[in-house]
């Protein structure tokens, strides 16, 4: 059965789009049919991070409004066959997303794919609510930094009230993805510790993604980091997070920047 995941945060710039691309690619590499959906209408960027910006013809709004059929708007990844992108519109605004229209598109996506991963816009307005509305699972992307944790708390509140699941009295599955984590600074007490963030937000931990220059390199080159440099520390952390998303029980460690099995051996246990 298809799973709909929303990658959300409240705060901008914490790594939602990077995480959507990296997790989507990691799941697809393991053979699942995955679509990553950009909900950031007017400010799309998932196409750029995925390296598909030159190939966008139709978008989510065109499908919602019936100007294009879903298969016409889906862009198949050139590297991983089972990975697709549904881009957002760059020229319209969020009001073009109707509740009925989005519901209809999500139902069609559920039929075609195993995983539907929705990249939410920042903020707590209509766009963010639309992105989370039909989700079964929410990934709350948080940086170990006070304003990000506060905004994540706000988003968790929305997830528990504004989603379809919440309105039907069910619980939406929420996970914390800690990104831009610097193990050295956290050890020196200069950065909020993982346990602190977990205690404050009290949702289970999906993974910890270390701060890394590989992430910038990946977006410069238009490739999910999990495809571009699979042995890098952030890619391994995303691959593990993808496995946990599928239900595997894996201990959460922060991979170090070292390559190969040595990095794995010296991975630091944190939670």
């Amino acid at each position: 059965m298809a799973k709909v995941v929303v990658v959300t945060s409240g705060k901008g710039g914490v790594g939602k789009t990077t995480s959507t691309a990296a997790l989507g690619a990691a799941l697809a590499q393991e053979g699942a049919n995955v679509v990553v959906v950009d909900f950031d209408v007017g400010l799309r960027n998932l196409d750029l991070v995925m390296g598909a910006e030159r190939r966008v013809v139709f978008d989510l709004i065109n499908v919602v409004q019936g100007d294009a059929k879903l298969p016409q708007a889906l862009i198949r990844d050139k590297r991983v066959e089972t990975l697709s992108l549904l881009p957002a519109s760059q020229t319209r605004d969020k009001d073009a997303l109707t509740q009925e229209g989005v519901k209809n598109v999500m139902a069609q996506l559920r039929e075609k794919f195993d995983w539907v991963i929705c990249d939410s816009p920042a903020g707590i307005e209509k766009g963010a609510v639309m992105a989370m509305r039909h989700a079964d699972i929410a990934i709350v992307v948080t940086n170990p930094e006070v304003s990000s944790v506060r905004d994540s708390d706000r988003i968790i509140g929305l997830l528990d009230s504004k989603t379809e699941k919440a309105e039907n009295g069910a619980r939406i599955d929420k996970h914390l993805l800690l990104t831009r984590f610097d193990p050295a600074r956290a050890a020196r007490g200069e950065m909020l510790k993982t346990d602190d963030v977990l205690e404050i937000l009290s949702i289970p931990l999906l993974g910890i993604i270390p701060e890394s220059e590989e992430v910038l390199r990946a977006s410069n080159l238009g490739s999910p980091v999990t495809l571009l440099s699979p042995t890098s520390a952030p890619a391994r952390a995303y691959a593990d997070a993808a496995k946990r998303l599928r239900g595997e029980q894996l201990e959460v460690v922060v991979p170090l920047e070292r390559k190969g099995f040595i990095g794995r051996l010296f991975g630091r246990k944190v939670a």
């Binding site: 910006e53 190939r55 020229t91």
Partner: protein, 88 residues
């Protein structure tokens, strides 16, 4: 081998980013005010084809590749075989 190549290109990602942005933004700036050009183009092309064949809109694939100097628009229309349609 691939890893070796990427090792030597390690510090060269910024020029790639710059070029990608230049191409993308040139197109986006030019698109302002005529966002539905592609949709219009598609409708008109399909209308012409529909004069001669019955086409299924679900079986139309449109591919686009925006380049710096040349862009390509590829429209793939599945035209039903007339003979086959009559037999079936």
């Amino acid at each position: 081998m691939n890893n070796l190549l990427s090792f030597f290109r390690r510090n060269k990602s910024a020029p790639v980013a710059r070029e990608r942005l230049q191409v993308l933004l040139a197109h986006e700036r030019a698109m302002t005010g005529r966002s539905d050009l592609l949709a219009t183009l598609q409708d008109e092309i399909l209308a012409v084809i529909a004069k001669h064949f019955t086409i299924d809109r679900e079986k139309v694939q449109i591919k686009l590749d925006r380049g710096e100097s040349v862009s390509t628009l590829e429209i793939d229309v599945e035209v039903p075989s007339m003979a086959g349609a009559k037999v079936a």
